[in-house]
Amino acid sequence: MASTVPDTGLSLVTGTLRQTDYWWTVFKRTWKGGVINSFVSPLFYVVAMGVLLGGFIAGDPAKLEGATSYLAFIVPGLVATHAMTIAVGETTYPVMGAVKWHKTYYSMIATPLEPRHLVAAHMMFVLFRLATACGVFMLVLAPFGVFESWWGPFLAFGSQLLVGMAFAGLVYGYSTRIRSESAFGVLFRLGVLPLTLFSGAFFPISNLGPVLEWVARLTPLWHGVNLSRMFCLDTVDWPLAALNAVVLVAAVVVGWFWSVSGLEQRLAD
């Protein structure tokens, strides 16, 4: 009965823009915490893993996918992983809260807004968070000589946004379908944590052995990490880059429909 394309109603853009004031208040309320999460913690990572731990690791380009130092190897993957973490953070508890605890979504759909508008505005906010967090992160890292071309970091930035949005859509859809927040524990432990560790951010996936290497290649995060790294290190294999991009775009599209249908079902009873 619920249809994604109703006969009447607001356009996606109009419905999304009507929530600008709402999201502006959310931003004003949360930006301070966001600064810590978005910039300070990842910087600790860079210093601890990239600089200090990296001091023990030989910067052999043959073993580090073309990076001349462990820091240069880890940075593009860390930022991509960070994008995933931010996206997951913004689409788990906030979504469940709006459905179950604060019920703000119920007040929103009592107006001309529809679930697709709510998803779209939420996604725009996630995109904004990703852009500021990854953007500043990349800027801070620029002086450390971890980028091999002037244009690569811009495309790397784009791929970080893409992988973030892929996770935003997939996880948002998941959050609309679960009834209890304990399901987030499963997501974090069996999803986010293994992906973070084994998708090639901290070590080349070739170290995993042939079977697990292929498993890693199937995860959306690896596509983002790989794309981000190839652009930063100027080691772009264009057909592979195209494949990475296609996979991520497909995940974004699937995530969108998965989220909209999930929210429509959840709010219609």
Partner: protein
């Protein structure tokens, strides 16, 4: 279709025929007919679980109907939901205020969802805060408000788009008597201003105070329809005599006593009292004493919608 003609001529605000709502195997609304016309205050009176909120959510065009037909403001909620919702004010049973926004922002943000320009929303918000007497609380956090204040804020919020039709699901449930009276006063002023109101309640006094016309709803069906006075005249007597007879034991003297007075009028035998429906209460009391019965308490009162409900369903409204 005659449905459409009726809608066009009398400005039907809500027109439901055989309206149903199921949740899985469970049918919460089992085929009801409702007509609400412009400017009236219409009520759904029924106990918890009667299906009032389910009906309200269908009317609010957020919950798809499971059967029958429904038209709101002459439109079909399945296809014109957004257009309908743009002209409705909704005050849901459960609070959906945003606890993370202050009082004023709750109204302002909500107004923006309707596409009302900023300046216009701002002036409406000031006006509405005044109307619900929350101007001093404009900057307060929602969680610091009392139950009555939250309710008033929700009502103010539902008015921000100047709705043609205002839906109030149990507007005063959980409020203390004073807060209820403040709210009734505000709803009464809206009614005077010509806003069409649809109210659900399980308080018969609320229904009597506010509704021009109401339906008595029970177990997903409509048991009766009319103005409060019509319903009382049709289903009850002018006066009711309540008789109380001390502690009852397992031999259940209520039943025995009831046999002795059953010719005095229609009886309802409740656990703690017997109700005698007869137009003249004094006469009933006189006859009870004549028969050598000695109730520890007697009360003669006017019939209410509670009596109507008892007659129609055999149960009390609030249990």
């Amino acid at each position: 279709m005659p449905l459409y003609r009726v809608g066009a001529v009398t400005e039907s605000m809500i027109l439901a025929r055989g309206l149903r709502k199921s949740f899985g195997d469970f049918e919460a609304v089992k085929g009801i007919d409702v007509d609400v016309r412009r400017g009236e205050a219409f009520g759904f009176l029924g106990p918890n679980g009667a299906g009032k909120s389910s009906t309200m959510r269908m009317i609010a065009s957020v919950s798809p109907i499971s059967g029958g037909s429904l038209q709101i403001l002459g439109m079909d909620p399945a296809t014109d939901g957004p257009a309908i919702r743009g002209r409705l004010g909704v005050c849901p049973q459960e609070d959906t205020l945003d606890n993370e926004l202050n009082v004023r922002d709750n109204l302002y943000i909500y107004g923006r969802y309707f596409g009302i320009p900023k300046g216009e929303v701002n002036s409406r918000v000031d006006e509405l805060l005044e109307f619900v007497s929350l101007t001093e609380k404009a900057k307060a956090k929602v969680e610091d408000l009392s139950g009555g204040m939250k309710r008033r804020l929700t009502i103010a919020r539902s008015l921000v788009n100047r709705p043609d039709l205002l839906l109030l699901d149990e507007p005063t449930t959980g409020l203390d008597p004073q807060a209820r009276h403040v709210l009734w006063d505000q709803l009464f002023r809206l009614k005077q201003a010509g806003v069409t109101l649809v109210i659900t309640t399980h308080y018969m006094d609320e229904a009597e105070q506010l509704c021009d016309r109401l339906v008595v709803m029970d177990k997903g069906l409509i048991a009766a329809e009319g103005s409060p006075r019509q319903l009382i005249e049709e289903h009850s007597t002018r006066e009711v005599t309540e008789l109380r007879f001390g502690i009852t034991d397992e031999t259940n003297p209520h039943e025995l006593i009831a046999e002795k007075v059953e010719d005095l009028g229609r009886l309802e035998v409740l656990p703690d009292r017997i109700l005698v429906y007869s137009p003249d209460g004094e006469e009933v009391i006189a006859k009870v004493h004549e028969r050598g019965l000695d109730p520890i308490g007697v009360l003669v009162r006017r019939s209410t919608l509670e009596d109507v409900f008892l007659k129609l369903t055999g149960r009390t409204l609030v249990d």
